[in-house]
Amino acid sequence: MKKKIFILFAVAFASVMSSCNDYLDVNTDPNNPTSADPYLILPVAQNYTARWMHSDRRVSHLGNMLMYNWSESAGFSWYNDEFLYQVNTNFYGGIFNDAYLRALKQYALLDSYDPEVYGAYVAIGKIMKSYTFQILTDFYGDIPYFDALQRSNNPSPKYDAASEIYDDLIIQLTEAIAMIDAAEANATSIFPEGDDMIFGGDMLMWKQFANTIKVRILNRVASAKGDAYVNTELAAIAAEGSGFITSNVVITPDGGYLNEEDKQNPFWEDFGANVAGSPTLSGQATCASDFMIQLLQDNADSRIDYLFEQPATGHLGVPQGITADPAVYAPSLVSNIGPALLQGPEQGSIIFTLAEHNFNMAELALNGFGGDPQTFYEAGVTAAFNTLGAPIGSYLNQPFANYVAASDKLEVIITQKWLAVQGLTAEQSWFDHTRTGYPSDLPISQEAPNLVRPVRLLYPASETSGNSANIPAQANPFTDKQFWAN
């Protein structure tokens, strides 16, 4: 008996030992893959770009608040930090964090695919990275760039100077265009189709978009970098020959955004209505500012009914930062965000307007880089009305909008650009305001302690703890302008 037991034990022992490695080979996650083709990576990245631009307390929203476009309905304490200009390390940290953690991370992943096969994907990744990084550095100044997005290979990337980032953005966009050309010349290349939510795989449009982003960049740094640089780069764009965008750049999923949980257009999801059609609280809380309503009414601007919902009692805007909470500003009585911006859960997300491109070209022309500023200006205003579906009528003849009559041409360009991008890419108007001071009569929130509008954001608290060795000293958010605005 004793022997039998021992033999039994020995056999059991041996059988366990012999099958050990098989026995332990169970560490593969059955729920999540370890790799995927780029057609599964790109749409996620683009969807994140749409969310980054248009979700609550992200890029465009901040522009709308700081540029006094939007305000708050009575009964809500929604925008305390915005009205106090409480620019600290928690203020709109999602802009910094989500850029890197969501969209940029995905675009960077596209770099890991074989360019011989997936060159088009890699190029799209580069273009979208440049698009995103420019906006990011315009908010924060110096940011992690050259060493960023390397995940476990560099958990604490160094910060790079904004002006050096700007230089590299142009280089990256040029490279992306070259990669697209190379991919098109290569018979084995695989191109995106419906998985490209922006251009559906139309690579000419990607090249045009790359050139358009270059113009945004060059226009912004024109005074900082000097004429020679801008002229050289504009000549290179002309030589490349693809031209520029001819319509708004819109993110639309193949098959569209849907009226389903998590599948709605991100702006609609936050400011429109839930799946059942009930208005969201953010939508109820957000309305036109008094200044914006007044301005649109003063200039017989038909866009007022497209940008803002008209209550039965007529349009009404609310001053920013009033401490009393009078019932006259109840959500049902004020002009909430309007029908052209909130068309429905299926609408696409505009991430770059044709109007803005024309205004960028107009400003470059005004500054002597070629072209007729008035033509570009009027194309810009027209595109802005078209985007909303508003009839332009004789708007361009209004003294307020007439280019010829305007005493300060730059002011009229920047002011119309501000009106054109509101609700869409409103952050651009904040950057312009920091740079040019236009529109010059823009009010300040009544609660602002120092009567000064902020000019930049502070690095978020996550960087203080996660990248303490590299994070630069925080700048003064009210006085330290970006390098292109000095």
């Binding site: 560490n27 996650d29 599964l40 749409p43 964090n97 476990s152 419906g194 059942a276 401490t323 909470d325």
Partner: protein, 1036 residues
């Protein structure tokens, strides 16, 4: 190492091949001096040799002896006896119980029982009566305050409370710090421990250090809680018993709130607010709620503008818990059994919250010749129906709606939420922003059902008198389902213009979690050699395999109200499945060398293989070395005084490793919740990135202990110190988000955890039938972060933006950081001269969340059948973040918000920064917005304002029992025990002198990062409670 162990044992065998000389046989019977019953299993040894036998089930033994031999009779729990054989051939022996030793049998690894003297590390035992003193629903709560070094944090007090079990504090930043649970010799889980019927527990042995790790593996790195359930005894008469208790639970305190100002906004009266920024109370009748239009069937509601005492407390019910347990036990000559059935029904303090649990236990053993079979098994099931957790259009918990009730609102008068002409009805409710909590209870439900089978079977075979082979195999299987739903609510926009409609949903979920564990132990017995030495040991192997699977499906916008099936949803269903498994096996050995029965050296080691590390580098060895010396036996001279009667020291060192989490080794892509979107599917890189060189985490612990008996063993004093150094901590660090990940899993730094614990107990007073027993314990520990990584100075455990819990180099762990005031060199608060408001400073460390020390005290008085016992504890030196205060500042109910009569005031002890960098005192610039804005914005932004002292003194349990005397019982001829009692829990809680919100022990959630971020005190739970009840125990 394995080979070395084997050689060792072979050598031992060789030593003891005994030569037989002239022999004859003696036989006899060993009986108990107390009741004359036979004692099985007594060791009968020929003194000075290693020859011997043990008594059988009837206490009989038979042994070949030489003339002149002396037989030594020993049995755990009995006094040893040496008897010369002389010329006898039959020897009947009586052994006396050794009271001191009886209580000192320690259950160690794999159910091996050992005499306390042989234990080379620190343990503490808690008996059934102590555990059940407070008639607690879960045993862990019943341990609070009773064991030195053990910290029980009750984190939530709903109908099914949760407790965290920490032994000697924290050793790891990201890994689990909770103690390992062993139930009847099989490795189990905290969940299984919480599901045990506490009435079934015989005793709990707490192994405080990591020593058990060498035998049990990683899980024991945090110490072990070894639970032994009740068994029948061989030869025990049949016992049937009933234990019942009925306790009532009520709110013990609500947040400290102001009662000077009521409903309103920015100083003016507003009848539909959730906030208290109205004018000072004046007692006038005023309208609250909507201004109903003409013809509407409800008249406007008018109530006095005056505070209502306890308006929030009145919302809560008196809860009740009825526990009934029936148990049977007994044994004959070869078998024992213990059966129990338990049933608990709880009604919570939140109306309609209900919980019930049922348990069935079957324990049995049977001896068949040399084979012994043991079964330990329990089936558990529970059912709960509680209010849902994502209520209203903002997905808030219930307590939020209660707290957002102004001071002048008679909350308990809004019960009638279904009546369209009542003020509790959705359209008619006074509050324009947060719904009626009674409505919430009726329209949001979480229903859960779970069950667990925890069972193990042990078969042991006595190969020789000494060598025993045992195989144990166990299962710990939990399954369950849940059905959570929320009803839709629409509003009349004229009456409730600010309410967004509430959408409906139904989530149906199921899970199964199963763990199999098996082990085989070959015990080699005890051998004496060289006259003074003894050696014993065992070898073993163990396998653990766990599998988890959960799935859930959610439907939204239900078509038919009140019908909760996924078929009722409109739009796409969302579904998720999660599945994981892990396997570990290991081999271990343990050898103890004794010297003259007063010194023992123990060497133990385990080689583990785990599935979570790379296949080519998946094993590790952990050794443990420990020594105990019974000083009072080694140097009897030290006991030659009236004070010291026993002294033992232990010293030990052990190393344990923690492995990686399941699947953590490889980065994976996940499907974002937005996908599939239209015609495209998508995957993204995880937010967690993993160091390509990640490896196991190492814990090394030194422990030094002293156990003493004083005044002839009347008192016991145990003191131990420990030091654990954890290196290569597997930690979820916070990288720069610019790296493209928010969590970087890597090995970092060094954590040092040091502490001291002491317990003192015994019989203080004994006069006639009166007895006073006392057990006091003291625990102190501190975990300090020694290093993190070159360029990383802190790791966030739980970052809420503006405050959170952190591991910070050079500081005690965990540490709270919060947005602070800006202070000048004199410590004055720097203000902005433009508006008089304090400047908002950086997020700075505020203090640690673990106490400087904990004192626990259990005191018992008894007189004849009457006994009174109490357990209390005191914790101090730590802080917590009062998230409830923070969240409620907005509503204007904080005491602080009325501290200056809602007027602008000069911020006390403040200063102004001059252009030259110096500061001058601010004497005249008042803050702005004292009516409201200052509190909601500036004050609320400075999160330092919500850091609170976590000091607490609690009388956790108080029990008064009366047992009928034996004489009365005997006259009944049926009853053998009748005890009736009164029990109170959390009878009295005393907190630091400050504005308190809740119990500092409570905590919102396991952190975003991990469970170690204690110190964020919550508002999500219902308020703290106290209980009072009765219990009755009858045995037949």
């Amino acid at each position: 190492m394995k080979r070395i162990l084997l050689l060792c044992f072979m050598g031992v065998f060789a030593l003891f091949s005994v030569a037989n000389a002239q022999e004859r046989t003696v036989s006899g019977k060993v009986t108990s001096g107390a009741d004359g019953s036979a004692i099985p299993g007594v060791n009968v040894m020929i003194k000075g040799t290693s020859t011997g036998t043990t008594t059988d089930i009837d206490g009989n033994f038979k042994l070949s002896v030489q003339d002149g031999a002396v037989l030594q009779f020993s049995s755990i729990g009995m006094k040893k006896k040496d008897v010369p054989v002389g010329s006898r051939s039959v020897m009947d022996i009586t052994l006396e119980e050794d009271i001191a030793e009886l209580s000192e049998v320690v259950v160690t690894a794999y159910g091996v029982e050992r005499a306390a003297n042989e234990i080379t590390y620190q343990t503490e035992k808690v008996g059934a009566e102590e555990i059940m003193q407070g008639q607690q629903q879960i045993a862990a709560v019943g341990l609070a305050g009773k064991v030195a070094g053990l910290q029980i944090n009750v984190q939530n007090n709903g109908v099914n409370p949760q407790a965290q079990i920490l032994l000697r504090g924290f050793r790891s930043i990201s890994a689990n710090n909770e103690a390992m649970i062993v139930i009847d010799g099989a490795v189990a889980t905290i969940g299984a421990f919480n599901n045990l019927n506490p009435n079934d527990i015989q005793s709990i042995d707490i192994l405080k250090g990591a020593n058990a790790g060498a035998l049990y593996g990683s899980r024991a790195a945090n110490g072990a809680v070894i639970v032994t359930t009740k068994q029948g005894k061989i030869g025990q008469r049949f016992i049937a018993g009933v234990n019942s208790s009925l306790t009532f639970e009520e709110v013990s305190f609500l947040p400290d709130f102001q009662t000077e100002h009521g409903i309103g906004w920015d100083g003016h009266y507003d009848p539909i607010e959730n906030t208290n920024w109205g004018p000072r109370f004046d007692g006038q009748m005023r309208r609250v709620g909507p201004d109903f239009p003409d013809g509407y069937p409800v008249a406007d509601q008018y109530i006095p503008y005056a505070p209502i005492k306890d308006n929030l407390r009145d919302f809560f019910n008196t809860g009740s818990t009825l526990q009934n347990n029936v148990y049977l036990s007994g044994g004959d000559e070869t078998s024992t059994f213990f059966l129990s059935v338990g049933n608990t029904n709880t009604k919570g303090i939140v109306p309609d919250d209900e919980y019930s649990r049922r348990t069935v236990r079957v324990n049995a053993s049977k001896k068949i010749g040399k084979v012994k079979l043991d079964l330990s098994s329990q089936y558990f099931e529970d059912e709960s129906s509680v209010v849902g957790g994502s209520i209203g259009d903002q997905d808030r918990p219930l307590y939020w709606f209660i707290l957002n009730t102004p001071a002048n609102i008679p909350l308990s008068e809004y019960k009638d939420w279904q009546n369209p002409i009542g003020y509790g009805y959705a359209d008619n409710y006074y509050n324009a922003y947060y719904q009626n909590p009674y409505w919430a209870i009726g329209t949001n439900r979480n229903n859960d059902w779970t069950n667990r089978l925890i069972a193990n079977v042990n078969a042991s075979y006595k190969i020789t008198d000494k060598i025993n082979f045992a195989v144990r195999t166990g299962i710990n299987r939990r399954t369950g389902w849940g059905k959570n739903w929320r009803d839709a609510q629409t509003y009349n926009p004229d009456l409730q213009p600010s309410h967004a409609d509430v959408s409906s949903f139904l989530t149906d979920s199921e899970f199964q979690d199963v763990e199999f564990n098996s082990n085989a132990i070959l015990s080699l017995g005890t051998y004496e050699f060289g006259g003074d030495f003894s050696i014993n040991g065992f070898l073993g192997a163990a396998v653990i395999s766990s599998q988890y699977r959960a799935s859930s499906i959610t439907a939204v916008n239900l078509s038919i109200p009140g019908f909760y099936d996924i078929s009722n949803g409109t739009g796409q269903l969302t579904a998720a499945v999660d599945q994981s498994q892990k396997r570990v096996y290991g081999f271990f050995g343990d050898v103890t060398v004794g010297f003259r029965k007063w010194a023992y050296l123990n060497l133990a080691g385990r080689q583990d293989y785990t599935s979570t590390l790379p296949l080519d580098n998946n094993s590790y060895f952990y050794p443990s070395t420990s020594l105990s010396v019974i000083l009072s036996d080694a140097f009897p001279v030290i006991t030659e005084n009236p004070v010291l009667s026993f002294a033992k020291i232990t010293v030990s060192n052990s190393t344990v490793y923690n492995d990686l989490g399941i699947y953590d080794l490889n980065e994976r892509l996940t499907q974002p919740r937005f996908f599939p979107l239209g015609n495209t599917n998508g995957f993204e890189q995880s937010l967690v990135t993993v160091d390509p060189n990640i490896q196991k985490e190492r814990l090394n612990t030194w422990e030094l202990g002293l156990n003493t008996g004083l005044f002839n063993e009347r008192f016991k004093l145990d003191v131990s110190v420990f030091n654990t150094i954890t290196t290569d901590l597997i930690t979820e660090t916070t990288p720069s988000f610019a790296s493209g990940s928010s969590t970087f899993l890597t090995n970092i730094g060094k954590l040092s955890s040091k502490g001291l614990e002491a317990s003192f107990g015994g019989n203080v007073l004994k006069i006639g039938d009166f007895r006073w027993d006392l057990n006091a314990n003291f625990t102190t520990y501190e975990t300090v972060v020694k290093e993190i990584k070159d360029d990383l100075k802190e790791v966030a455990l739980d970052d809420f933006g503006g405050y959170g819990t952190y591991a910070i180099v050079g500081m005690a762990f965990p540490q709270i950081k919060a947005q602070s005031y800006v202070r000048d060199p004199q410590g004055r608060v720097v203000i902005n001269p433009a508006n008089g408001n304090p400047e908002i400073g950086e997020v700075l460390p505020q203090g640690k969340t673990t106490p400087d020390y904990i004192i626990g005290l259990t005191s018992g008085f008894s007189f004849k059948g009457l006994s009174l016992s109490a357990t209390m504890d005191y914790r101090t030196g730590h802080i917590y973040y009062s998230q409830g205060h923070d969240q409620m500042e907005f509503t204007g109910r904080s005491m602080e918000s009325v501290s200056s009569d809602r007027k602008d005031f000069v911020f006390p002890n403040s200063s102004i920064r001059q252009s030259d960098g110096t500061f001058v005192a601010n004497t005249n610039i008042p803050i702005s917005g004292g009516r409201m804005g200052f509190w909601q914005n500036t004050f609320n932004e400075i999160k330092e304002n919500y850091v609170r002292d976590a000091t607490a003194f609690k009388i956790r349990e108080l029990a008064l029992n009366y047992s009928l005397p034996t004489s009365v019982l005997e006259s009944t001829r049926v009853l053998s025990k009748v005890t009736v009692g009164i029990v109170a829990r959390n009878l009295w809680v005393s907190l630091a002198n400050q504005t308190n919100f809740s119990d500092p022990e409570f905590r919102n959630t396991g952190g975003a990062n991990n469970d170690n971020g204690v110190g964020i005190g919550g508002y999500l739970q219902s308020p703290p409670t106290r209980s009072l009840g009765f219990n009755l125990n009858i045995e037949f």
